[in-house]
């Protein structure tokens, strides 16, 4: 998972999403939906802390149910890797799938973490966050 060799037949399309400042891209391998990236570009700043709640978008994956089996690599669920950011104006403390590269010799530190969700559950993405989803 996450280490697929390039098939040479990868295509990408931008998804049309109704949520403001949420961008999404779907990546297909030989015509099958393989991965998607969502970026919630709404800014959660350090100065927002204590003033308001950090907003969350829920991404409904219901669109996959209307696809035919041929267009989805695995129909049951998704695997998610998250770029975790505390505040948009931070200059450190980022974690990608639970791991950090902010180490003295720039070697990765920590255990790689994934989340799994059923297609019917959908995915939450907080403001100032990005996720990579495997189907």
């Amino acid at each position: 998972m996450g280490r697929e060799a390039a098939s040479g037949a990868t295509t990408i399309v931008e998804l049309e999403l109704s949520a403001p400042n949420l961008s999404g891209y779907a990546i297909y391998e030989t015509g099958k939906l393989a991965r998607a990236v969502f970026v919630n570009l709404n800014a959660w700043l350090r100065s927002d802390e204590g003033i308001r709640e950090r907003s969350v978008y829920h991404i409904d994956l219901g669109f996959t149910a209307t696809d035919t089996a041929e267009t989805i690599s695995s129909a049951r669920g998704v695997r998610i890797k998250r770029l975790d950011i505390e505040y948009a104006d931070d200059t450190s403390k980022l974690r990608w799938g639970g791991q950090s590269w902010e180490t003295p010799m720039f070697l990765v530190e920590g255990k790689e973490e994934f989340e799994t969700k059923g297609l019917d559950e959908g995915i939450d993405i907080r403001e100032t966050e990005a996720i990579l989803v495997w189907f």
Binding site: I12, V13, L83, I85, A88, D89, D90, L94, W101, A130
Partner: protein, 112 residues
């Protein structure tokens, strides 16, 4: 089609923008957007002392370490060339373009 030199703000970036986590999100979106437009390659301008800071602080140093390894340039413990201004291999060739861009901004008062 490719993008031979880019990043958030010209002339090595701006503190409070280019070095933030928010800029990391922008970079992901920008790169994937470029891919949907048919871009084959995108080169990000980065280097020691610049304000760009992608997914982590180590980002420029990683490029520098890779480059200096391949060129057998002596480095200090953090992977930096002492007093060096070079960034990635792709950026070296782009330096004159960056200078031109800075000059152009000053002349016309504009900028990205």
């Amino acid at each position: 089609m490719d993008d031979r030199e880019t990043n958030s703000i010209a002339c090595h970036g701006a503190p409070g923008v280019s070095n933030t986590a928010g800029a990391a999100l922008w970079t992901i979106d920008y790169t994937l957007q470029a891919a949907t437009l048919g871009m084959q390659e995108v080169y990000y301008h980065a280097g020691i002392g610049f304000k760009y800071n992608f997914v982590c602080r180590a980002f420029p140093c990683i490029f520098l370490t890779l480059m200096t390894r391949s060129l057998s340039v002596p480095t200090d413990r953090t992977g930096q060339i002492p007093g060096g201004q070079f960034t990635s291999v792709s950026t070296i060739a782009a330096v004159p373009a960056a200078i031109l861009l800075c000059w152009s901004r000053r002349q016309h008062g504009g900028g990205p």
